[in-house]
Symmetry: C2
Subunit: 413 residues, 2 copies
């Protein structure tokens, strides 16, 4: 079962003015399963997206990138999103592009939009032809279901191997107005930086100029979805979308150094981090949630490299599964993180607050029982100080259990 995720409370998910969501069953993989989700965005909405860096990126990712590029170059507004589970439409060549385009065109026609105003998303089995006819046939049902209150339903509808739906919502004050930030995400296995098998949608009714949105999104992605790893694989379909409808009624945020921008960014980061951490907590077979805090680095990138070397190591992850305070595996991972001039004698490593390593080896005061006490917990922090600079980064990961192998040996993704 997932590590410490409270059940989703639909009432805690505030609607976002300007965003309606509809759900439908297309029967893509399982009859009756809600597998199609549409988002309708009010006119004036601003949209930004970041996507997988996998060269085998899926057809919908290519279309999203193309449509967003046209939009930011002065083209028509993005006004709709359509998401399906059960089929990733990846490794499907020209046919895949045609089928994704057909879905966008159909939804656009029925909503009075142009094709390129509709962003498509798919997740599920790779290399199978997308049953676009089924999805198209389900669009009227999804349209009829449109409602501002469907966030929780959408969080469930976009799940694949996820055990629990993932959603978060927050309200802040900007210019005397209440601003809402609500988001959902899916993804459990194959999660790694650059956004593996992950779909994330965060929407706000804040008013912000279009040129500020990509930077805000990139920062939020860096410290959330791009700071987690479950098994190190990166997928073909990962997408993270930020929507700002501008309907909250405050003056548009136009400066990145304003207090309003800072407040909005902090709230978007908070929602995004909650979603990203929920993905790790729901990692395939996860029994422990591990925060790797790396400080004292010469750069953000080297801190993140150390965090990922530890967070990806099968040896570290199986040791955490076994509740074994196996310091050596952590130190070895730090050692191969790729920092050529790393002075290992300077490094301090703590398990939670327990100082375990210093001066290139185990700290003389450290007692195995102390490490064992930490390892028995379901939430563990590995705190590393490289003592060579002022930068820091955090990576979140989970342990590696029998169930990880079982799920991935049996699931055809």
């Amino acid at each position: 079962m997932p590590v410490n995720i409270a059940p989703l409370d639909p009432a805690a998910l505030h609607p976002v003015a300007g965003v309606e969501i509809g759900i439908a069953s297309a029967g893509i993989k399982k009859p009756g399963r809600k597998d199609v989700t549409v988002f309708r965005l009010a006119p004036g909405s601003k949209v930004a997206g970041v996507f997988t860096l996998n060269r085998f990126c899926a057809a919908p990712v290519r279309l999203c990138q193309q449509y967003l590029q046209q939009y930011t170059a002065g083209g028509k507004e993005i006004r709709a999103l359509v998401v399906n589970t059960g089929n990733a439409n990846a490794g499907t060549g020209v046919d895949g592009l045609n089928r994704a385009t057909a879905i966008c065109a159909e939804l656009a026609a029925s909503w009075g939009l142009a094709t390129e105003q509709v962003l498509p998303f798919s997740t599920g089995v790779i290399l199978e032809p997308l049953p676009s006819e089924k999805i198209i046939a389900a669009l009227p049902e999804a349209t009829a279901d449109l409602s501002p209150s469907n966030w929780a339903a959408a969080a469930s509808a976009i799940m694949t191997t996820d055990i629990v739906p993932k959603a978060s919502s927050k309200q802040i004050q900007i210019g005397g107005k209440t601003v809402t930030i609500t988001g959902i995400a899916k993804g459990s296995g194959m999660i790694h930086p650059n956004m593996a098998t992950m779909l994330g949608y965060v929407a706000t009714d804040a008013a912000i100029s279009q040129d500020l949105l990509p930077g805000l999104l990139k920062h939020a992605a860096d410290v959330s979805f791009n700071s987690i790893t479950v098994d190190g694989d990166t997928s073909t379909n990962d997408s993270f979308i930020l929507i700002a409808t501008g309907q909250a009624g405050h003056a548009e945020i136009t400066a990145a150094d304003s207090a309003e921008f800072a407040a909005l960014q902090a709230a978007v980061v908070e929602v995004s981090q909650f979603l990203a951490q929920a993905i790790v907590r729901d990692g395939e077979g996860a029994t422990k949630f591990i925060s790797i805090n790396v400080s004292g680095g010469a750069s953000y990138d080297e801190c993140k490299a150390v965090g990922y070397a530890i967070g990806r190591s099968p040896l570290v992850k199986t040791a955490f599964f076994a509740s074994d305070p196996n310091l050596g595996r952590i130190l070895a991972a730090i050692g191969y993180a790729g920092i050529q001039d790393l002075d290992v004698d300077q490094i301090e490593v703590r398990l939670d607050d327990v100082l375990v390593a210093k001066d290139g080896g185990r700290h003389p005061d450290y007692r195995e029982e102390q490490g064992q006490a930490v390892m028995n917990k379901a939430e563990i922090a590995i705190n590393i100080n490289l003592q060579r600079g002022a930068h820091s980064a955090t990576v979140w990961t989970c342990d590696f259990s029998y169930d990880y192998v079982k799920i991935n040996a049996e699931y055809r993704s």
Copy 2:
């Protein structure tokens, strides 16, 4: 059980003139276990070594590097090796260096050598103080056991989580003389490029000039131990040593473009590849042996990057464990191998001889039964043609099973 390794035949391991080996029990981890191995090299022997790139490299690795540097700078010949299992002497700081030095000094004194003529090696638990007194106390027993015929015994004595001993031997003709190449290796988990938790010793009685030896060793390491992966972790202690005693009686090889050099190199590569592949076959929990052949690359490095992306992927490896011809996971791994300008529509992927992917997706003629038939085998080749150049590389890996998790959750390395 290991995948397709024939039981070791001690009679097939030819002694190497100029190399004697002795084994002893020091009781480092288990009473009575043969855990100390010494090699005595005849005067005139040439030695080269390559070592882990892990910044947390162990004390013996630091000493080996220092002694080999002194030797190649005109210092005294390397005349002895001493190897212990049960303790890696890694993350042990200054005390670890002192203890490793003490062992070298003791063996040197009893054999009439200088300390820096003895290379030390350790493998086993990290972060525990090395019981150097026990090892020193066992040196007389090891010395008394010295024999040219102890290769098989040494292959067993250097094992840790290995299930089977690994050794290979070959004889070729150079200048009308019989030249022997014999080697042993250990290592099962934590195996990845740059030589993780791996010890390898290959000796030949060929005569070759000292300046040619490092290049020969590096090439042999690149296409053997640095072309395998079990779980992607790299260790603190990996070492690969090549010894040439010069006692075969032929004229010394002094030119890298000579037929004699080519013949010797080919034989050293063959022995090294057998040992490296045996490590994968004995990978922790392995049930399948997988060769990833990447051709048509713009460079050797990019071919190897593709091979390693596939060979390290937990998703690919669990699919192989399940005998699931899950092409999508292979394509996804190719996609994130880091080749920025990769044209995925050009790539051909075959499982053994079965063409499974072409033109950016599944080949229309491919039938799942064909892939399934290949996946049911214990030895599988993934053949990838990037169709963008003339370079190629091969990476060997194994699958990822329940037993991998079990072994690594329970073993304190």
